[in-house]
Symmetry: C2
Subunit: 222 residues, 2 copies
């Protein structure tokens, strides 16, 4: 698949078909992740594949707990809209993937002394490679961020020095939506490109970027 | 360009030709970044384009300072090898790009309450889109991580609530190397794919991933 097609048609997937991912497809996706850039060529990413239904049920319980708290940030119509959204696919996706960053290097990582956070950021670059490669393979990925990280660490028995970066659901999707769901339901609109670009000083707007606004999606009924 | 080709031929570029990037090329690259996934569709990424030679000279001074400290982590042959490496292209690249994450949202970001770090991680996903799109356009990107973040914030007058995520050099490269430079000079080798994958529990190795080791690069003389 063409790079730009993968970038523009990639979606955060919540609805999966119960169909396993063939080994060779999964290997191409993980190999793409493994070829991300990393500070000092540290390759800190670690991929914990979780297929066990028991573990996924426990993770799903953690999601329910965290989500009960998260919904309280909203009220009225906004909370109703929040409650109508499907925010994870932990049990439907045949594969869950916990992405970790291993900081237990025995020697100092080249380039990471001034900004040690670049190690975990390298792992995040690998996640985007993984997400795009999955899209090219017709596989959907959804990032579940509504989980208490301390509880998840305990559940997965992660050792000290291994940072939790992301919890992903991976599987063949019911569909790839044409627009991001949160845009379609009116939760938030896409910013014009020119609003995220500044010239020389933060806060200034460049004169020479065209407006490049995507056509907004049709408003969904629910 | 094909997605996998972009992923596997992308490099961290340090040597640039002094040739400006046409506006339409830069816009496609930034638009690719802007179409990254983000927690709660928050689109927190901000791109500060820096072309001013004066600012780039000041950033380069910050690099020199940080690098004098960083090299002290090594000694002997390792330090000699470190000193021989070109670790930035701040002055050669016609464009420097400071990538920021704006956390000053007026309403709570959907999905970011349990793991607020997912906001900055979203910005990092955008960086990988940007890096791949640049590769497809024949444009090189290099991440400069050897900079004191507090000094860089002051220099760029970043407001509170705006997180510094990355400082990138962007321009047409002298070449895209066949292998990562740190691999070629023998600083660090690429891990076998199976070493970064675990099944069900951290530390376990899966049985079913083939070794998938790339051919190592020929060892360079310096």
């Amino acid at each position: 698949m063409d790079l730009y097609e993968a970038i523009h048609s990639r979606r955060d997937v919540r609805r999966f078909r119960n169909e396993p991912i063939p080994d060779d497809v999964l290997e191409r996706i993980l190999s793409a992740a493994h070829h991300a850039p990393s500070v000092g060529f540290s390759q800190p990413w670690r991929f914990l594949l979780i297929r066990s239904e028991e573990t996924r049920r426990e993770v799903h319980r953690l999601f329910d707990e965290a989500n009960r708290q998260a919904r309280e940030a909203y009220s009225g119509e906004r909370q109703e809209l929040y409650d109508s959204l499907k925010l994870e696919g932990i049990l439907e996706a045949p594969l869950n993937l916990c992405v970790l960053s291993d900081h237990r290097s025995s020697s100092p990582v080249l380039g990471a002394q001034s900004m040690p956070e670049t190690i975990a950021l390298s792992t995040c670059l690998a996640i985007q490679n993984l997400w795009l490669a999955a899209r090219a393979e017709g596989v959907g990925v959804g990032w579940v961020s509504i989980l208490d990280p301390a509880s998840l660490r305990r559940l997965l028995a992660l050792p000290d020095g291994v940072e939790l970066v992301a919890y992903l659901c991976v599987g063949y999707p019911e569909s790839f939506l044409e627009w991001p769901l949160l845009e379609t339901v009116g939760w938030r609109h896409r910013l014009p490109l020119r609003d995220v670009i500044f010239e020389e000083r933060f806060g200034s707007q460049p004169a020479d970027v065209s407006s490049d606004e995507d056509a907004p999606p049709p408003r969904s009924q629910g």
